[in-house]
């Protein structure tokens, strides 16, 4: 009888563990051989907030990032939603093979992690982690990140300085490509966010269809690795 009462008391005294505010380090590694990431946007945010939905059209904020590397509108969007945001942890481009680390907090209102950056040189390709649920147990977690196509610009693979919304073409190759004269792989704008089909390129430095070099600018997924340390 007394044992039963004690058992009940134990059951009543158990409370649900809540997610208290915690700190995480997010290290992002560029796994590609010849492609750069423009300023990264790293954020812990709500359960429901997402920067894009695969299969759906990209927002203008996402388009600005994917086509020209401009993360300002996405950062504003997240901040207004109550998210924790770190903009540009690498202070500029993240080169092939390089890594950078951002430190953020998670809490009950911001339990998920998202990361985006434009992949350069591409038309509107971006690397992303979307709404990853941050573990509550301390430790180190590794996630591979894929490349997505924003679907807002044709993948013509022409380097012409075009990075603004509505302007076709690739802004630049930070790796110093000297290829020119590409007439364009395609003029088709896909219309929705999807897994990037990669770079076709060619080996014609003065003509051909593409200004990207198939031997230098190609990649397969994953294009990045995120190592998250939950403290």
């Amino acid at each position: 009888m007394i044992q039963n009462i004690l058992k009940s008391a134990l059951v009543l005294s158990v409370t649900t563990a809540s997610l208290v505010a915690g700190e995480i380090d997010v290290k992002v590694v560029n796994l590609t051989g010849g492609s750069y990431f423009t300023p990264l946007l790293v954020s812990t945010h709500s359960d429901t907030k997402r920067l894009y939905t695969t299969g759906s059209a990209a927002s203008t904020s996402l388009q600005k990032m994917a086509e020209g590397g401009d993360i300002a509108d996405l950062a504003t969007e997240l901040t207004e939603d109550g998210a924790n945001v770190v903009s540009n942890p690498a202070s500029g481009l993240l080169a092939p093979g390089a890594n950078t680390t951002a430190t953020l907090t998670t809490d009950t209102t911001n339990p998920r992690l998202s990361i985006v950056a434009m992949i350069l040189p591409t038309n509107d390709g971006f690397v992303a982690l979307s709404g990853w649920e941050v573990p509550t147990t301390a430790g180190t977690y590794t996630v591979n990140l894929n490349a997505y196509d924003a679907g807002t610009e044709a993948n013509d693979e022409v380097i012409n300085g075009g990075g603004a919304v509505g302007v076709a073409g690739i802004p630049a190759d930070p790796g110093g490509s000297v290829a020119t004269g590409g007439t364009g792989i395609t003029a088709n704008v896909e219309g929705f966010v999807h897994i990037h089909r990669g770079v076709l390129g060619d080996n014609n430095d003065t003509g051909g269809l593409s200004d990207l070099k198939s031997t230098k600018h190609g990649w397969l997924n994953p294009v990045a690795r995120a190592i998250i340390t939950v403290k």
Partner: protein, 93 residues
């Protein structure tokens, strides 16, 4: 691209409860598969619920004839027959 929602009803008696020697119970799972590509359709798929070690394929090893027919021609019927003949596996479309 389209989302496919798949129902599989699974009888777990033979799979998980042999140690308990208990009567069977049924669990249902809803599996949503999203095609992330731009324009690459996927042929009719196979979704399988199975014991650890009963993999559909092992990288580095040859696949079954049923699996080959699915991969080369999009025909999942023989793979489904193979899987459902295995008592450690339940498979469905």
């Amino acid at each position: 691209m389209k989302n496919l929602k798949l129902w599989s009803s699974i009888v777990t008696a033979g799979l998980l409860l042999t140690a308990c020697g208990d009567s069977s119970s049924v669990n249902s799972y809803e599996v949503t598969v999203e095609n992330l590509t731009y324009s690459q359709p996927l042929s009719p798929m196979v979704v399988s619920y199975h014991q650890q070690g009963e993999n559909l394929f092992v990288a580095g090893e040859a696949v079954s004839v049923g699996f080959e027919k699915l991969a080369e021609g999009g025909d999942n019927s023989d793979l489904l027959l193979e899987l459902n003949a295995n008592t450690n596996v339940r498979a469905s479309v």
